[in-house]
Symmetry: C2
Subunit: 280 residues, 2 copies
């Protein structure tokens, strides 16, 4: 089970001058969105009381493999992550797996040089690109989710900002030059150690074509977004939040946590709950 | 030099229904804020045409050391980062440093098992805590920036969301239980491979005390925030943006990139530019 977390009350607001953010999650149940807002004629959030687990999402070298089997707590996940480290990357010494002095979590500690190998979540950055009332999607030409549609996105690299990384990935996957308009969403997937940072963007020129990691790139009108053929839960959530915003007539910034529903397939991109959703 | 990046035009807006975000940075010059808004009686952004470099921020085991000497491009930084990896953490084999097939950046590749060790930026998560028109700060009891003031913040761990991590760090450093109200800022520091995610929060109870990493915790009224004794540029930027928002009467979500001004000391937390600043 996840450790107890602070759940936002729906009446939460900034004491100083009224936070404009609306915490949507309330105590207890998680919030999930309908699997396909278009097929259900509604994108209204509804409650789910299902607990949280996670499953591996695959072995794409650009996507970090999730721990397998699923671990029940952040502490156990952190320990499991550290136990994958058998050797020191700096001196080559064997590691031991202990809680360092003054810390609380198990780490891989080098038995020769004493250095600690910290393991941290990774950021995936991407662009939600609007053009002529349509959205640009790429068909994945690599595993995982080969053949499924995605926003152009990938791991942030050392030396670049999230905005730069999102633009680079868009160039690599869709050969498209974009202008970033604003951050659109931060979606944490804690149990596979990923955080998605998605920017709203527009094409600088109406030119795009599949890069090496894509087999196709297409503009989709909002009613034709292929929700049944999207690659990852993060893409389903991002595009559903975007459709909700379009429907409401107001773009917002969204923060939330994506948790996989227990007992569902790791490849089912609709089997999730969106928890602690806050929006501007 | 940084690679060319997309710079936002001040007229950028969402084509669909008017993006409410205001890209503040314009072509060419970076934007910097005055070093101390209180001493200058203004927090208005002004232009700076200084280029971008970075310096090490220290060796705190909780803070990733920056590359030294400073590297001029993201690609060089990525290569420099990979060259620190001499051995495979999985099998202990020696690494070679090459561009893998189908990729563009130099990586550490194991000469025995062939695995690639990817290096990615890390997220630092923290809370900006309002209480009785004051802000809670912690005096650092560890290096770097020993004895200087900070918001409670630290590295996000595998298995937790950014919000959970921010609450955990607040507990560890200030023994304070908080309710998160909304995301307040994402500040990338690309050249030391860090992204700060700061949440606005409030105390659940008016109780706090220094944890092991703090020598003191205090509530500061907004006019008494110790800008000359803050630990990191990220804290200076966050608190200045917060004061600007207070002054304007409206809280916003902020995205931006912090770059160190060339020729300045790594310990000078005011020697930065805030680039590509976008706010809700």
């Amino acid at each position: 089970m996840l450790k107890a977390i602070q759940v936002l009350s729906s009446s939460s607001s900034s004491r100083l001058f009224g936070c404009r953010w609306k915490p949507l999650a309330t105590s207890g149940p998680a919030i999930s969105l309908s699997a396909n807002p278009l097929s259900h004629h509604s994108t209204t959030a509804h409650r789910s009381s299902e607990p949280v687990r996670v499953y591996s999402t695959g072995s794409d070298p650009k996507m970090e493999a999730a721990p397998s089997p699923p671990s029940p707590s952040p502490t156990a996940l952190s320990a499991a992550s550290s136990r994958k480290i058998n050797f020191c990357q700096w001196c080559g010494g064997a590691t031991k797996h202990e809680v360092p002095d003054g810390e609380e979590k198990t780490r891989a500690i080098c038995t020769l040089c004493g250095k600690i190998a910290y393991q941290n979540p990774k950021m995936v950055v991407g662009c939600l690109i609007e053009h002529d009332n349509k959205i640009l999607l790429c068909k994945r030409n690599i595993q995982p989710s080969f053949g499924l549609w995605t926003l152009p996105a990938g791991y942030l690299e050392v030396g670049e900002s999230a905005m730069e990384g999102a633009m680079r990935e868009t160039w690599e996957e869709a050969q498209a030059e974009v202008e970033v308009l604003c951050p659109f969403a931060q979606l944490d997937i804690p149990l596979i150690g990923q955080t998605y940072i998605i920017f709203l963007a527009k094409l600088k020129k109406p030119h795009f074509s599949p890069g090496p990691e894509s087999s196709d790139c297409q503009l989709f009108s909002l009613e034709d977004i292929p929700f049944d053929s999207l690659s990852f839960s993060s893409m389903v959530v991002t595009l559903k939040l975007y459709l909700e915003d379009v429907k409401s007539g107001r773009l917002k910034f969204h923060y939330g946590t994506i948790n996989k529903r227990p007992g569902t397939s790791p490849s089912d991109s609709h089997a999730y709950t969106l928890d602690n959703h806050m929006q501007s």
